[in-house]
Amino acid sequence: MSELNTFLFNILLFSLFFNVGISLYGIFARPSLIKKIIALTIFSDTANVLAIAVGYRGWPSPSQPPIPPVITTTEPSIDDLTWFARQAVDPLPQALVLTAIVIGLAVTLFLVFLTLQVYRLYGTTDVRRVARLRG
């Protein structure tokens, strides 16, 4: 990977880390529960992109991009597999991310339902007013 490419990829990684920081700030410091849920979706999506970025690889050659980890031939020969292993990005993070997206969906829907209940019972979604349990 050339210097320029490394630099550009670094920009991507650093903006992801800043996204993690900003969305953590949103979850921990903003008062509205809805804003917290929005920040939570951003946070878990950023974690997923980070995982995919880790599975990415440098280009095999400057003109040949890496390929998705999908074997298209039905009965691959050894040569096919060797070529595939040289070209494809890492499949495992993609499997992890698929699981994480589904789990994140379940958690988010549950939290949305609870926020609705909170509004129904407390008349507000501001966490500074939703503080009946204390001490």
């Binding site: 991507l12 996204n19 410091a29 849920i37 599975g55 003109s63 949305v112 926020t115 501001d126």
Partner: protein
Amino acid sequence: MIELDTLTYLFMALAGVVSLIATYLAVLENDLIRAVIFSALQSTVYAILFYLLMAPDIALVYIPVAVGLYPAVVLFLIKKTERSEGDLGGAGGGSE
């Protein structure tokens, strides 16, 4: 002449910066509906990133969930509850 790989990395960096700006605006926006729109913009950028990072299958799962479902559900929630977030400044906030 710019090389193909540099061009791809350039797009990735650009997508990263755009998502950073969108996240910043989404978190700091007081109007929740605009915050949802910014977060949908950020999700779209992430979907492009998934495609650029050679994970088209993840992009296919991610687009309906994060670009379609999340904003719809949160917009539904905002419609049922309240639209603005209230100020962060005042000491003690709304505790009575």
